[in-house]
Every structure is written in structure tokens, then in C-alpha cells.
Symmetry: D2
Subunit: 151 residues, 4 copies
């Protein structure tokens, strides 16, 4: 889908600043690798303290990183005074999330005035090794203005 | 929907043991409050290190606790030698997750031989105060046997 | 969740009028049974011309009736000049949709100014017989005003 | 994702035969345009008898065609004696479905022994005109063997 140009030329800094305020990204050990217009990539390693009972990364943690990638992909196209809130997301787990490294990408499918739809994909890989898909998300996010939310 | 009786009379212990092995539940500060047949409740407090940029509990963390509640609700009805894996889930965020306390409930809607469907609801409340809904989930989980997965 | 009272006292007539304009409901042979505030019920029989390859009602047709039930449940609470549009829905099929009769119920979970979340349930039954669940939906719908859409 | 080769070399005929048995595809006026390994395309025109109250193709009918495209994309990779059943799907509506022509594509993302995940996309266009996206689906389908289901 053709996306509109970013409404705010300072969108990269705005995405980086907001990401830095997400306490949960520090807890996950997640890093913001790319913040393009309509596309965001987050990377992180596996950690036992984020695992489910079989030792795989918990599906909800995969969803946490993917939701941030999707939300910031949409946020990158929003006006400078807007905040982003997730309305809903759906995730399919394609393979046990063994890691040891993960890559989460959000790409905007539709950027509406109020509602944006974003597709997220997660991959896992050995350091330097080939990436294999481990999850797929669709997220619906909302542009929020005038409600006193910081970015 | 009428649910079958639990296939394993020791299901409560099995759910508690598996929950204790989820490293991520310790990280979240989550506690298993109830493990009934087809119904599981998890509780946890808000923590800044699990927040998104506005200070609300990150949608993915809400999803993490709800997914565990849903997964274990289904697991409670499974045979003693089965493991549970989440195939997919969808979550709607109904209100900003301010806390300070959260309650996550998973209730089995359909318990199939291979596929189970579970509904999850999240509420937030002040200590001793009334609970208000903050999220709703539907999860599809799989009964896995003979693949060498521990519970 | 506590729902607000209907914004338009003439909501029942408004729902019935809009339903009558849905050409697809005629094609399905669907009838609007109940139009309460925040809750709508639609009924219909099985028909071979709506079946998939095994003779069951096609999952998409189950979704069509459920989406209308969900959309009108939200519409019942909206202002008199508003239109309703579905943003997204997710459906789980719980049993093969054999019929011969189906009942589709939409109940509003959250009625927001812009976004509403609605839960849908489908049941099937013999005439006069007990109802068994066959599908479960969550739908996100939008209140649209000032875009020139009729109801 | 790398997909396995089709388990049945006669998969094209099998998909066409099963599609022809879907009564609902005749009602929709839908045609099977492409049946490749892991990828199926269905086309259809807009019809007033499939519309919602504003004259757009009903979201559930978009979902019906997309679900068939997704289901048959997965079915194309299944063994010759298998049937396909939809477990669940989620759809985002990206634009009002005005038509006059629609194209529905299902592409397999993961082909598992029991569970497959398929992505669906819908486009609309004037005859000979450019296609614009109108919906996006993720479907989870099941390979069913030994339950007496015809294809």
C-alpha cells in the first residue's frame, strides 16, 4: 500500500526518544535497530527470565517486542504532537522461540488519520546465522491527540 | 460450552509446577491465584520496568499474563503427559493499563483433542477497590504429546 | 463492563432500518430477532448455496452474520447521525456449522466515543432443540460521523 | 518462509474440484483464478445482494472469499487424502469495499503437519484499472485426516 510521507520530519528522533521511555524494553534487553518512515526493527537476545516452561521465549514477550515494533512503525508517520495507543493485535506463533537472537520488524500496511494497521514479523537466528520466522502479527493502532499523553 | 472433566486428577499440582517453571512469571511478579478445571487466575502489580512510554503496563505484558492464564486453563484439562503450546492469540486493549493491581482470568471455551479455544479477561483495580476491565483475549492452544516437551 | 445508555432513544428503529438495507442479509435468509441497547440477535437457517465443500455453512458466512450482529450491537448505542464501520474482527470456529438453524448474538464489551469492542457468539440447533456453540468472534468497530455515510 | 513441496502432485485438480463443490462460491459469483502450490487467487465482482447498508461489499463476504483463498492455499500442500478446516481467522478492513472487481489472494506462511498459517490479501479495482488493497487476513487452518470428510 502506498504510505503517506511522515507528517513530522523529526520522526526518527521522536521514535528513539519514546522507545527510550519504554521501561519494558530495558527489561527485555531490546534495542531499537531501525526507525524508518513506516518501518521499525527491534532486536533482542533470549533470556531465561523471559522464558515459558519449556525454556522458549514466552509468546507474550515475542508479542511485546512485536507490538512495540508495530506501534513505532505507525508512530513514525504521525504528527509531532500525536501519541500512539494499541487498540488490538493478533499474533501467530510459527515456531518455538529458541533464539538465541531475535529480530522484530513492524511495517505499516495502512496509515489512516485515526486508525493504522501494521504487520509485524519475528525471526530468530544464531549469531551470524540465517534467520527463520518465528511469529507473525497484525496490529491496529490509534493516533491520539489532545488527551494529554506524552509521546 | 460444556467442558469435559479433567483428564488428569492431579491437574492442580501440574499447573502449579509448570507455572513455577515460567521464568517470565517471576520477572513479571505474577502469582497463580486459582487453578481450577478449565479456569485459571493470575494476579500481579504494576511495575515501572514493565511499562510503555506513557507509564501504562505494556500491552504485550498484559498479553503475557493473559496468555499464561489461557494456556494453563487449557492445560488443566489435558492428559498428564501433554504439553501446551500457544498457536495464536488476539487481544483487545479496552483501557489504559494503569493498575496498580491486575487480575487475569482464562476460561476454556472449547476443549478439543488437539485444539482448545480459551477466553481471557484482564481487570485492573486499586487495592480493595472495584475491578474494571482492561483487556480481552481469545487464544488458540494445542495439546502436544510425544515431542519430548516437559510440562 | 458498564455500558452507557443509548445516545438515541430511537435506536431500535434505526437498527431495524439499517438491517433492512443490508442486501446480504436477504441473500443469507437472515432475520433480525432482537435489537436491544448493546445487544443484537440474528437468526438464519442453513442453506446449501452458502455451504463450503463438506456441506457445512462456510466460515465466512458465519462471520458475515456475526459481524452484522456485532456491528449493530455497537450501532444501537451510537448517536442518531452516526454510521458504523467494521475495522477488524477475529473468529474462532468451534464446531462444524451443520445447522439446521443458527443464532448469532453480538454483545458490546466496550462502547467508546470512536472505537467499540463487541463479542459475538454463534450457536446451532435443531428446530426446538438445544443450542450448541459453533463460533466465537471479537469485533472492533468505529463510530463514523460527518463522512456522508447513510446509516 | 520456505514451504515444503506439495505432498500430492495432483493438487491443482484437487483444489479445483473442491472449490467447485463450495456452493457459496457460486452464490458469490467467485472464480478460482490461480491454484499454485501454497498460493491461491480468487476473483469476483461486486453485487448489491452481497452488500451491507452503505452499498459496500459486506466485510463478512470479503472474509468468505479470503478464507477460501487461504484454506485452498494450505490445502494445495496437503496429502491427497486430507481435508482442510478453518480453525480461526482475523481480518482487517483497510478501505470500503466498493469494487467493482475484487481479487483475493492466499499465501501459505507456514505449512505444518497439523496446523498451517496463511496470509490473505484483498484488492479492489475498476476493470483494467490499478488495484488498491481493501483487506488483510491471517488464517489458521487444520489438516484433517481420517474423519470421513470428503475434500
Amino acid at each position: 500500500m502506498n504510505l503517506p510521507p511522515p507528517a513530522d520530519p523529526g520522526f526518527r528522533q521522536r521514535v528513539h526518544d519514546s522507545f527510550a521511555r519504554q521501561g519494558v524494553m530495558h527489561t527485555l534487553g531490546a534495542t531499537l535497530e531501525t526507525a524508518d518512515a513506516g518501518r521499525v526493527v527491534i532486536v533482542m537476545p533470549h533470556k531465561p527470565e523471559l522464558a515459558q516452561q519449556h525454556g522458549f521465549l514466552h509468546a507474550g514477550i515475542v508479542a511485546t517486542a512485536l507490538d512495540s515494533a508495530c506501534g513505532y512503525a505507525a508512530f513514525s508517520l504521525m504528527p509531532a504532537d500525536a501519541a500512539v495507543l494499541t487498540i488490538e493485535f493478533k499474533i501467530n506463533l510459527l515456531a518455538p522461540a529458541r533464539g538465541p537472537w531475535f529480530r522484530f520488524e513492524g511495517v505499516v500496511l495502512k496509515a489512516g488519520r485515526t486508525i493504522s494497521v501494521v504487520e509485524g514479523k519475528a525471526w530468530q537466528h544464531e549469531a551470524g546465522g540465517p534467520q527463520t520466522p518465528c511469529a507473525s502479527m497484525t496490529a491496529t493502532v490509534m493516533t491520539v491527540q489532545g488527551r494529554g499523553l506524552t509521546h
